[in-house]
């Protein structure tokens, strides 16, 4: 006999909305295909996606205070889910805003419908990931997300760097998925379950055997690929550089946030008894990730590639937060490390969206603006974009009064709070290195004369909106962070 678990549709509604919007977007593409070459499909797809994302967000917000468990405990709806869902949905919404220009223009016009559909499917997959309390469900969400993103990376047909990037990302990603599923199998073998809380129960307090440790390692490797921690970062620079820039932004902010969301829940709910094994691991990984990311970023001439390495470095700072998680017996609500990671993810989202958004805006005149030489002298030519880029670079470098500063401040204070002073010192030395390459963008934009002529850039409402909101976010989070801190504090309270 098969026992059908009870179905709690409320838990699933946001995903359902996103997936159905995705299907509508596919239909839309069909409808527009007959009408020849025009930009309607791009706009319609964007508006439809935004509406779907908004509806999904609304459904999450109206039940934000409830704690619900569905499908026999494999999906959870709690403030932690809400926090990450809203984060991921806003990441997707930003990416849609950044994509409008490209899907309505030459680059992606023919695949606009599919493009937005895949973006929505990926987001739905991420939401499943962060709501999941079971490793297999995580895997389903992860694959939904990954497969969609692989295609999105290569969505510019006929663009060979894009195709190369997509293939590399796919091959390495498939490899990582294999690690993950192998690890899940081991966990099932050791504990007889894949549900986080039951895994923790089965592992108990006894010292783990080699099988358990192998399982932990394999599962972690799967996620470390997604968050681009060193030494699993090799795909990042190529994939980020080759992908269409809005997708790069999406990968940088949303994919990373989703993977961190799962990682936090898995480590705290599933493997609390193994913390003496994974905490030092996080320490080592964070040092390696920060240092390699920052040092490699120094030598990049392409801003997109520089931001790719910078995203590796930021994954390192986020791992500092994970490495300084407190003794897991205490209440997670008091845990500054967890709160600091959540805060960091939000700040990281707005500043990266902003930085990539400026690059997209600068390139929108048709002249490519991706390398340091190409943006030379553009600061005074485009004063608003220049000022915005300066703001985002300062924030990425962690200079007040921006959100990037407070985010680093919280992460490093969490580390010092746990007595990891050396980790904090390594972290700030890394920040000092990062100041050099972030400010180099400003040097080129403001302190050098432009080499060629710089064409005028036409106004684009969606891009402007994305930039304005992210600029506001960077400043708001740097000056008045209390609201978000409270929200993050509430989110981690219900983690178990």
């Amino acid at each position: 006999m098969v026992n059908f678990p009870e179905i709690n549709w409320n838990v699933l509604l946001p995903q359902v909305v996103l997936v159905s919007t995705g299907f509508f977007s596919l239909l839309l593409a069909v409808a527009y295909r007959g009408r020849g070459n025009n930009s309607g499909a791009g706009w319609a797809g964007a508006i439809l996606s935004l509406a779907g994302l908004a509806l999904s967000a609304y459904m999450i917000i109206i039940q934000r205070d409830s704690v619900a468990v569905g499908f026999g405990g494999i999906l959870r709806f709690d403030p932690f889910t809400v926090f990450f869902n809203l984060l991921l949905i806003s990441g997707a919404a930003f990416s849609v805003l950044l994509s409008v220009k490209e899907t309505a223009g030459k680059g992606l016009q023919r695949v606009a419908g599919e493009y937005y559909a895949l973006l929505l499917f990926a987001t739905a997959g991420m939401i499943v990931m962060v709501s999941a309390a079971d490793l297999l469900v995580v895997f389903v969400g992860l694959e939904t997300m990954s497969l969609s993103v692989y295609i999105l990376v290569g969505s510019k047909r006929g663009d060979s760097p894009g195709a190369e990037a997509a293939l590399k990302y796919f091959l390495i990603g498939a490899f990582a998925s294999a690690f993950l599923i192998y690890g899940i199998a081991y966990i099932y073998g050791v504990t007889g379950t894949t549900r986080f809380d039951l895994v923790a129960q089965a592992l108990g307090e006894k010292s783990p055997g080699p099988m358990t440790l192998a399982a932990l390692g394999l599962v972690l490797v799967g996620f470390l690929f997604k968050i681009a921690a060193v030494p699993f970062h090799m795909w990042v620079p190529d994939a980020y550089e080759g992908a269409p820039t809005p997708i790069t932004a999406y990968m940088a902010v949303a994919v990373k946030a989703a993977a961190f969301g799962v990682l936090i829940r898995l480590l705290i709910v599933g493997f609390p008894s193994l913390s003496s094994y994974w905490l030092p691991m996080m320490w080592t990984l964070s040092v390696a990730t920060m240092t390699l990311g920052n040092l490699a970023a120094v030598f990049q001439g392409n801003i997109k590639r520089m931001l790719a390495y910078s995203s590796i470095a930021h994954a390192g700072y986020l791992l500092v937060g994970l490495a300084s998680l407190g003794p897991l017996s205490s209440l997670p609500g008091d845990d500054r490390a967890l709160i600091s990671v959540l805060y960091y993810l939000v700040v990281y989202l707005v500043m990266n969206v902003g930085a990539f958004g400026v690059l997209i805006y600068l390139s929108s005149s048709g002249r490519q603006m991706e390398t340091l030489e190409q943006v030379r002298g553009s600061g005074f030519r485009y004063p608003v974009l220049g000022a915005a880029m300066a703001l985002f670079m300062f924030s990425l470098a962690g200079i007040p009064p921006t959100g990037g500063f407070l985010a680093k401040f919280y992460v490093f204070s969490a580390a010092i709070n746990q007595g990891l002073v050396s980790l904090a010192v390594i972290g700030v030395l890394n920040s000092a290195v990062s100041v050099y390459y972030y400010l180099r963008v400003i040097v080129e934009m403001y302190m050098q004369e432009s080499s060629g002529e710089t064409p005028a850039i036409s106004f684009s409402l969606p891009l402007f909106l994305a930039l304005a909101v992210s600029a506001w976010g960077v400043l708001q989070l740097g000056v008045l962070p209390s609201t978000l801190l409270e929200a993050a504090g509430k989110a981690v309270l219900f983690l178990r």
């Binding site: 300062f394 007040p400 490093f412 709070n417 002073v421 400010l439 400003i442 040097v443 209390s482």
Partner: protein, 526 residues
């Protein structure tokens, strides 16, 4: 210890944020209207100066308490507050900032012709950052302002500077950021110690003063703070960014950099590093004083051989700020007051000297001393102001420079480290040598270079730039009493606190060592 604070409305907030408000308005002024932009920025800075005059007018004498206090919660979860206030130490530094900002803006009328809008916005933001750093009584708030003033300076040097501007700007920011990030770690560690010993989280400076930091931790914390401030002062050997930054910066940038930003370092010592970690500061005092003396003599010797006027003035700053450090570490009332007084007079005299170099550069597009000579005949008014600034910098009695240096010497003589006086006094002689020699080569002698034959004298605007500085030089030189009277209560309170706390920490350390020794003995042998 009860820290009573005297509040008089929000005038400090207004003084700090008025320039920022002005900068925001300037964003919406079209970039073509050069004179509107300049005039508006100048008026905002001037209004800020007038507003800041209410501080000395309402300043209560004879108390060391913080005055004009504004205190509101900011990030409650972390105990961060928006806490402003001034005492006798910061009062005049605020006034120096508000006085020099309009002067610096006024000096750019003809020097800055391109990208005027950006320049004016940045200089107003810079003023906001500097004022905020001087009045913040919360560590996080201080750190925010500290970095906020860094960025505009970086852009001022990098965008409006001379040939090697990018190199100088990057060097400047990397030095400063490295220092301040290590300070940030130190501060977070202090915050953590504070929250354990006080039982609640706070970043309020006045509360952190009460935290008894263990001796061993003090050493590291003091190092992390002192490095950030020593880079800013700059203390030898952390001064190498300074000549580059000064030479490459536009005139107004150099003026503000020398007159105000450098004071931030010394101010950091007296407000943060020394009172927070007195025992460690005491342990490092000989080292810092030796570095101060080296700075005085080395700066003077290097200044002597500079062919470039601006570099000469820059190295003279290294030399003069050595006195400030010696004064602070003499830990006598006259020494510390003298140190603060010297900060103010260095601000005025070096500010004026950089303006003078700027005037020459604008007219001749060179700063090489050997390109000039005999200018006094062509530019008599200019010669007058130049002479006074030179004499003020040397420390001629009757002018401001003398008072500060003299007080520092008296203080040093009465302190535990009296031998430093002899070395420091040689710096005074050397400064007379290089400054007067420079003045002679530029202003006197025959006018040989034909390019100098048609130099015009100062116009009204330029006279207006120098006038307030010269008036202040005489005022501070002839009547230093009102200035010193306002500093003294805060200074003697600072010294008293410093000494009590460092003795306590020292006693603690000895006790710790004793108990450790007792612990190590096997119990049977006792």
């Amino acid at each position: 210890m009860e820290l009573l604070e005297i509040s008089q409305s929000d005038v400090l907030s207004w003084i700090v944020f008025l320039p920022l408000l002005g900068a925001l308005v300037l964003v919406f002024v079209p970039g073509r209207r050069l004179n509107v932009l300049r005039m508006f920025a100048f008026l905002i800075a001037a209004a800020d100066f007038i507003l800041s005059l209410s501080l000395p007018a309402n300043f209560i004498l004879g108390t060391h308490e913080m005055q004009f206090v504004v205190s509101r919660p900011w990030i409650e979860r972390w105990g961060v507050s928006y806490h402003l206030g001034i005492d006798g130490i910061s009062l005049f530094l605020v006034l120096l900032t508000t006085l020099l900002s309009p002067v610096a803006i006024l000096s750019t009328w003809s020097a800055i012709r391109e990208k005027v809008k950006g320049f004016m916005i940045l200089i107003l933001v810079l003023e906001c950052g500097m004022l905020g750093a001087f009045v913040s009584l919360d560590m996080v708030l201080f750190y925010v302002f500290w970095e906020v003033m860094l960025l505009p300076m970086y852009l001022l040097i990098g965008v409006w500077g001379h040939e090697k501007r990018v190199y100088a700007a990057v060097k400047f920011i990397l030095y400063t950021v490295l220092g301040s990030l290590l300070m940030l770690v130190g501060f977070i560690y202090l915050f953590w110690i504070g929250s354990q010993s006080l039982g609640y989280m706070t970043t309020d400076l006045l509360e952190l003063y009460r935290v008894a930091v263990p001796y061993h931790a003090q050493l590291w914390l003091f190092l992390s703070f002192a490095l950030a401030f020593a880079i800013k002062v700059p203390v030898f050997p952390f001064h190498t960014w300074l000549p580059d930054a000064h030479v490459e910066a536009p005139t107004a940038g150099s003026v503000i950099l020398a007159a105000i930003l450098l004071k931030m370092g010394a101010y950091g010592f007296i407000r943060f590093a020394m009172p927070l970690f007195p025992a460690a500061s005491e342990a490092f005092a000989p080292l810092i004083m030796i570095l101060g003396v080296i700075g005085i003599i080395y700066g003077a010797l290097v200044a002597m051989v500079q062919p470039d006027l601006k570099k000469l003035v820059a190295y003279s700053s290294v030399s003069h700020l050595g006195y400030v450090m010696l004064g602070l570490y003499s830990l006598t009332v006259s020494g510390v007051s003298g140190g603060i007084f010297q900060m103010l007079s260095h601000g005025l005299s070096t500010g004026a000297l950089f303006l003078i170099v700027g005037i020459l550069y604008e007219r001749r597009h060179t700063r090489q001393i050997d390109q000039f000579g005999g200018l006094s005949a062509r530019m008599p008014v200019f010669a007058f102001f130049f002479m006074i600034a030179t004499l003020s910098s040397i420390g001629l009695p009757g002018l401001n420079g003398f008072v500060g240096e003299f007080l520092v010497f008296i203080g040093l003589y009465g302190s535990a480290h009296s031998s430093f006086v002899y070395f420091a006094a040689t710096g005074m002689i050397l400064s007379a040598v290089y400054m007067l020699w420079m003045f002679r080569r530029v202003m006197f002698g025959p006018l040989e270079n034909p390019q100098n034959a048609n130099l015009s004298d100062l116009n009204w605007r330029e006279i207006l730039v120098f006038l307030p500085l010269v008036v202040m030089m005489f005022w501070m030189g002839l009547f230093p009493r009102p200035f010193l009277a306002r500093m003294e209560p805060s200074v003697s309170y600072f010294i008293e606190q410093y000494q009590t706390k460092s003795h306590l920490a020292e006693a603690d350390r000895l006790q710790e060592a004793d108990s450790l020794a007792a612990h190590e003995q096997p119990p049977g042998q006792k």
